[in-house]
Symmetry: C2
Subunit: 244 residues, 2 copies
């Protein structure tokens, strides 16, 4: 048994950092599923095979598989094994699944889907926020907006931008909108590469953000909705013209 040697594959994988074994396994297996290595309906290798592949114990494999089961990526039954669930059962709005999904096919198509999704929810979220926000929530929004303007590095700016949009979702007063924040985070982390091209784009975007902030502050739902639409149209142009 090669079990006694200092584990090859995991040592290689551990470039990811210090995450635990079951997390690494879940990540690796989940990625392979979403990537399409095992199409929906097919049977995965059994637990023993996985544990041999990764030089991990069967317990660790099982815990990883349970995590994927919790995300509805697969279901397992005795004697059968683990079967990949049909795609429409996958919880694509889960942070991890989204990350796997984003990294597998072409970024472009993924970004377009996310962007379209933002068009659906963000204008309404802003309109709701305009009428339902608390003062604390307004503070959060305003602060993020200010920090966006004051940011010097692109990273700082993107961070503040993300916080701005998440704060609006939270202020919408609908708990179900909050989890959609992962989409926005994902969008921004991928959009990151697109907007290096500085210039008046940034100024224009900042003005648009300030307009949203103002309309939410002054309780003007309709105007807030329109302002968000305008901002998204602006972002659309960035997505369309492609990465740097």
């Amino acid at each position: 048994m090669a079990r006694k040697q200092p584990v090859v594959s995991r040592t290689r994988d551990s470039r990811a950092g210090k995450s635990s074994v079951h997390a690494q396994l879940a990540n690796e297996i989940g990625l392979r599923i979403v990537r399409g290595d095992y199409p929906p309906g097919s049977i995965l290798p059994n637990e023993a095979q996985w544990s041999e592949t990764f030089n991990a114990s069967r317990s660790a494999v099982r815990e990883a598989i349970k995590m994927l089961m919790a995300k509805s990526l697969l279901a397992s039954r005795p004697k059968i094994g683990s079967r990949v669930e049909p795609r429409e059962r996958w919880n694509l709005l889960d942070r991890d699944v989204l990350a796997w999904y984003a990294s597998s096919p072409d970024r472009e198509a993924f970004l377009k889907a996310v962007q379209e999704f933002r068009h659906i929810i963000e204008p309404e979220a802003a309109a709701l926020a305009a009428t339902r926000r608390t003062d604390e929530q307004m503070d959060e929004i305003s602060r993020a907006c200010r920090e966006m303007g004051a940011a010097v590095t692109l990273e700082e700016r993107t961070g503040a931008d993300t916080r701005f949009h998440l704060a609006i979702l939270r202020a919408s007063g609908n708990d179900l909108l909050v989890p959609l924040g992962v989409l926005i985070e994902s969008a921004f982390s991928h959009l990151f590469l697109y907007v290096t091209r500085e210039g008046d784009d940034l100024d224009a975007a900042q003005k648009l953000h300030e307009s949203i902030e103002r309309n939410i502050r002054l309780v003007r739902p309709e105007a807030a909705r329109r302002a968000v639409r305008k901002l998204l149209a602006n972002t659309d142009k960035v997505v369309e013209r492609g990465p740097e």
Copy 2:
């Protein structure tokens, strides 16, 4: 040790059916978290305590906890234990979390949030479906609509109704909309109790559904959007007047 006795608590819990131990544990612990027994930031009992509480092995407890970690309900670290994550990290759009959430506080508020959410996404989904649907997807929509009309029991009708709305989401051509189907399913399964009051309500609702079907079939996105809005307004009235 009472470990040798024929397990009391799990035997009682097993009225749920034949689900596996880890699933039962995840369900029970998840419910308690969402219900608020352990507020965000607090530390859960350790694995040994859980395993004693439920007369299950630590492995089973760990697998259950891994499932809850996958849903971002908690995070665990050595020596600390398992800490409940802040609510905004919870994946409320997960099927299980949604079910726990729906059963904990008052149904009413939950239903309102879901209904509001439907107002945001379903009109747009229908509009997208009108322009992007494939013929097969259109068949699915039409069939569900027909089956709704032909249904005799309330259960059949609700089932067809659900399929109708899910089919529209699928036909929207945006993968990210599909997972939101769990919201609709949840809404219908809870709305179930509200609409026993039969009458012309059903006829009116059926006509509204047929109108949506027609507008999607004839590629009229604007009209489809309006039709869905009308149907949702109708459902709103049902929700407002409360359960039977």
